[in-house]
């Protein structure tokens, strides 16, 4: 056959552009940033964060129109789904990305870093997350995972001259690539033994009669363990504190919230759709991971002196709470699915809020030590109050968002109605108390201790950080006082998946 005949035989598959509009808008924003930089780097330097911010808000518009439209769309041979679950998570990624852009603006400009590359890499990583929310196929999921990870490796090593940042980048990279190689090996086994890469087809193949194949068990374990690295579950968490401490703080916020959420989104599809027939493997694995992650994360957080490192270990512990519903995935069904989504939404806002206050305070003190928060209330009462709200929410004190997140996870564990669920509920309760130890310590520094060096000049809060802090503050309080808002998103997301 000649080339012309081959080209003639090819017909373009019909593409539903409305369903792809959020990704297309985001891709457009990335291209605009790169083109502006090529035309005149100096002249457009100050516009680039604006383009990034508006690109993210612009991508939110088609998400809303798709939500209003309400039809469930499926593209590319069922590999890519745009349903309620995908839309809720896409909106979460876009809003979290917007807040990260807000807290990045001053840091990146004052540090004299390359703005074009920073924002285009961050948006590329977010594009990967949008794909992840829709991926319903092993290949699509793998491509989405790499698209979100590879720019994140570069962002972690952003401060080129700093050895700590280099170390953060290479550790994150080596761990991440090793995990994705293990995960890929698992995917190859799952594909080979089920005969398909599509999640629903894998579910049907696994649900069939006959003895489970041992090799399949290995495949499933490898895939899930690969994602356990991504969400920093103990014992695969060792990269997280070092990477979080060494990376630039806005990047840390991005990794701790958006990147971790993307890992959970992938796990949701794998555990609740693809591997649902093999709960004999999935539930015990997550039971062990959740218990270890909650307990060890909290115990290590107790002895940290650096606030970012403490937030890193607190993030590990919070990931443990989010792993609990997976351990009761078939016993609690839809309740467990909703618990993960609700926890993800609330965690994103309260953790981003805590990071934005850390950014604001670090601009004055230039230190990451918890002791540098001494007497914060006397010279920056607004920031101290905001930080208190975020930390109390992370600790799970009502009426702030965090209590509802802990409550739904607790309910999911008890809903299982068996002994393993009950033990998990006890572990959750014990760990919630443990966590007060380190969150309370920062609060005590802020409210009771004297200012360490007597320097009481007020903290200059830039408009973008103020906006980020107030956005997350309002969301954290609103989700706690009106939990039905976020519960509604949880319900919407679980309608189709189960």
């Amino acid at each position: 056959m000649t080339l012309a005949a081959v080209l003639g035989a090819f017909s373009r598959p019909a593409v539903d552009w409305h369903a792809l509009a959020p990704e297309v808008v985001l891709l457009g924003a990335i291209l605009v940033i790169i083109i502006l930089d090529v035309i005149d780097e100096e002249r457009f330097r100050t516009f680039i964060p604006t383009v990034a911010g508006f690109g993210l808000l612009g991508a939110l518009v088609p998400v809303l129109t798709l939500a209003v439209d309400g039809t469930d769309r499926s593209l590319f041979g069922d590999a890519y789904a745009v349903d309620n679950a995908a839309l809720v998570l896409k909106a979460l990624f876009l809003i979290a990305g917007y807040v990260v852009v807000l807290i990045s603006i001053d840091y990146i400009r004052d540090g004299d870093y390359y703005e074009n590359e920073y924002y285009s890499l961050m948006l590329s990583s977010l594009l990967g997350m949008l794909l992840m929310a829709s991926a319903r196929d092993l290949i699509a999921m793998f491509v989405a995972l790499e698209l979100l990870s590879i720019p994140a490796y570069m962002l972690a090593a952003w401060r080129k001259g700093s050895q700590k940042s280099n170390e953060a980048g290479i550790k994150y990279y080596l761990m991440g690539v090793f995990a994705s190689a293990v995960m890929l090996y698992g995917m190859s086994l799952v594909f080979g033994l089920s005969g398909s890469t599509n999640f629903t087809a894998i579910r049907d193949a696994l649900g069939g009669s006959g003895d489970p194949i041992p090799l399949m068990t290995i495949g499933i374990l490898f895939v899930l363990l690969g994602f356990a690295f991504k969400v920093s579950a103990v014992p695969f968490h060792t990269w997280a504190p070092d990477t979080y401490e060494g990376a630039p703080t806005p990047v840390t916020a991005f990794l701790a919230v958006a990147s971790k959420a993307a890992g959970f989104v992938a796990l949701l599809q794998l555990v609740f759709v693809a591997f649902v027939g093999r709960d004999d493997v999935v539930q015990p694995l997550f039971w062990i991971l959740a218990t270890l992650t909650m307990t060890i994360g909290n115990l290590l957080a107790l002895r940290q002196e650096n606030i970012v490192r403490m937030l890193a270990y607190s993030g590990v512990a919070q990931a443990g709470f989010m792993l609990v519903p997976f351990a009761v995935s078939t016993d609690s069904g839809a309740v467990a699915f909703q618990a993960v989504v609700i926890y993800l939404i609330i965690y994103a806002f309260m953790n981003l809020g805590a990071f934005s206050v850390v950014m604001a305070v670090a601009r004055k003190t230039g230190s990451g030590q918890i002791s540098s928060y001494g007497g914060l209330f006397s010279y920056a009462p607004g920031l101290a109050a905001a930080m208190t709200v975020f930390l109390s929410s992370l600790a799970g004190i009502p009426p702030l968002g965090g209590w509802f997140a802990k409550f739904v996870v607790f309910r999911a564990a008890l809903d299982a109605g068996n002994i393993s669920g009950a033990i998990l509920a006890v572990v959750i309760a014990v760990n919630s108390v443990l966590a007060f130890g380190y969150y309370g310590r920062v609060m005590k520094e802020m409210w009771m201790n004297p200012v360490p060096d007597g320097d009481e000049t007020p903290v200059r809060v830039t408009p973008s950080i103020a906006l980020a802090t107030s956005l997350t503050l309002v969301a954290t309080i609103a989700f706690g006082v009106f939990p039905q808002i976020v519960a509604r998103f949880g319900e919407l997301s679980s309608q189709l998946a189960l």
């Binding site: 092993l138 290949i139 793998f142 491509v143 790499e146 590879i150 490796y153 570069m154 090593a157 080129k160 001259g161 050895q163 700590k164 280099n166 170390e167 953060a168 980048g169 290479i170 550790k171 990279y173 080596l174 690539v177 090793f178 994705s180 190689a181 293990v182 890929l184 090996y185 995917m187 190859s188 086994l189 594909f191 080979g192 033994l193 005969g195 398909s196 890469t197 504190p241 070092d242 401490e245 060494g246 002895r303 940290q304 490192r309």
Partner: protein, 99 residues
């Protein structure tokens, strides 16, 4: 059977790669071990694609090859960055942060 032999080759390559990642101290050797793991995956995918009789295996392998190239590109850049700042690329000496 021929299929088994390919799968065993894949498993041996994968295990060699895992050993290399865990035991080697030179960052470039670690990168090469990771490549070995990814190529074990490709052998698996192609074998299974043949057994299952579906094109997905070959498509998956193409994606893996392309993405592995992108990953190694970033990895070598990071190793170069470390070499510039520290003049050695021993992964076990990267311990500025701990606790």
């Amino acid at each position: 059977m021929l299929v088994n032999q390919f799968l065993i080759l894949g498993a041996v390559l994968f295990c060699t790669g895992v050993y290399g990642v865990l035991a080697r101290r030179n960052a470039v050797m670690v990168l090469m071990s990771i490549e070995l793991m990814l190529n074990a995956v490709n052998i698996n995918l192609l074998t299974f694609g043949l057994v299952v009789g579906s094109i997905s295996g070959q498509v998956f392998a193409l994606f893996t090859i392309a993405i592995a190239a992108a990953e190694v590109g970033v990895g070598l850049a990071l190793v170069l960055l470390i070499y510039r700042n520290r003049s050695n690329i021993d992964v076990e000496e990267l311990d500025l942060m701990h606790g």
